[in-house]
Symmetry: C2
Subunit: 339 residues, 2 copies
Amino acid sequence: MKIVVDCHGSDLGAKVAVEGSVKAINENEDLTVVLCGVEEEIKHILSNLDYNEKQVEICPATQIIYNTESPTEAVRKKKDSSLVRAYERLKEDKDVVGLVSCGSTGAVLTGAILKIGRIKNISRPALCPILPTANGGKVLLIDSGANIDCKPINLAHFAIMATCYAKAYLNIENPRVALLNIGVEDKKGNQFSHECFELLKSAPINFVGNMEARDFLSGKYDIVVADGFDGNILLKSVEGTASMVLGEIKKGIQNSFMAKIGALFMKRTFKNLKNTFNTSNYGGAAFLGVKKLIVKGHGASDALAFEKSILQVKTLANFNLCKSIETQVALLGDLNGGD
Amino acid sequence: MKIVVDCHGSDLGAKVAVEGSVKAINENEDLTVVLCGVEEEIKHILSNLDYNEKQVEICPATQIIYNTESPTEAVRKKKDSSLVRAYERLKEDKDVVGLVSCGSTGAVLTGAILKIGRIKNISRPALCPILPTANGGKVLLIDSGANIDCKPINLAHFAIMATCYAKAYLNIENPRVALLNIGVEDKKGNQFSHECFELLKSAPINFVGNMEARDFLSGKYDIVVADGFDGNILLKSVEGTASMVLGEIKKGIQNSFMAKIGALFMKRTFKNLKNTFNTSNYGGAAFLGVKKLIVKGHGASDALAFEKSILQVKTLANFNLCKSIETQVALLGDLNGGD
């Protein structure tokens, strides 16, 4: 099995991408990574690492797509960028099952749709990150920002795709799906909420009803479905609030000698907390609904995050996630007389 | 000056409402509270307190509206409830400047619109809670859930109302207003975001552009404007995440002897943190856009929260907030050729 890695565009540069890739192959002898990027730089980083040379291919590229660029324009014009070369390889080489990138989210999504294409019946692929919950579990959010104007049928597709994904990656047999809303009662929310609610009820998933944003991390749900606008607000607000609370604690420790001593005794508690919120441990966000596996890691990904994202693609490929999504979505099409 | 207090419907019952009211008058001899609720109960609570009898009136009621009831039905049918009696008194007595309730949010909003009515030109009054920011400051969110389907003009009104409110209550001369969006660039978001953005630019406020949910508590903004659906998601997600993070720390302390010792040394840090997130210190959420002052406190309000909410109404009345809102909104009407 081959997985292509876009080695540029993330905050920490090619070094962590290559190191993470090497860690992944060193644990999996049936895996080959295709490293896309500036050849000389990749070779230089590789020269300091131990690995089986048969498990590494280099796919040369001379350009890098940055976060600040217009995604569509960058994907169209930067034909020799690491991301575009990675997508071409993913498209053309049937042995390559998926792609990992920690670069510009917009460019990764645009590239996936333009170069790889959507799964049959799915008009809106969606981004699906993993977040920690209070009971030590995990929750999936879909869509976290790929589609800002959605129809109810799109949310039904999101729910089905994430259900397949939760089975494949989180080993949850019958994932509990909730609709993001402003209250838990069936009739809560606006017209869009009501239509989504009805459609989700009839979809081939385990729909458990509406969820308030307050309960997102409660562990009561495995999958939370939302349009990309609201999903993005939910995701960013969790990130902002967690970082604000932890920042206030840090400030308290810095400003007090007593608190500094206390923090030493609480080292393990804080370390666990940091681990809980360390997205490197979970792999990246899957972009579901395109014909091959795409995992978009955090811009600040370290080598561990690259490694986890690559192994994530491997797990999903073994499960045959894209096929499973296609089959399940077709089932909804039959139930609802097509899209 | 008189302020009417709905003594029932909150989690801790009439005791905290009456005690908070008495604290408020004991610090302000020009203030009278009109306590609405079950007469015998209120008299019994008062009998244990020291206060000037001239500063307390009782407005008897025999019914209570609960959170579980349909707001519109409850306000219409429970004519002898503490909330409906409070609204009647607020409407009929010109000396009563405002109302404080910690009961059912839906019933408080419905009552305000049915019994008191909207300020001229404002079709959508909105709920405006106060949240803490990282730099020890405060941020207003409007609308946090009163209006789930909004037009851009409603958001312009929200921005103007909250600007008047921030001047009156937070003493901010030129409050920075941001639009909740999924990115900071001018063209981010959906069609609705774009229309709101253009209208806010032309409104008589200090509009500083789009804000990502991640920056809500950063202290970079004084007012965040959103439709009630997205505002509600933002608010609830902040509450849920803060409570999840603090809960994980608590769990860590309970599960480890070392952490227990550490927590003793960090007592002040945790106390400050708890204080930062203790909404009792800020007063309640103002319901802006109706003809009299309405403050809705948290359902779990204690006596301190009631006291702060009453004093909040007093401050807003001294500023003549409703008049100020009417004047400023009329200004927008002129700019945009009316609503």
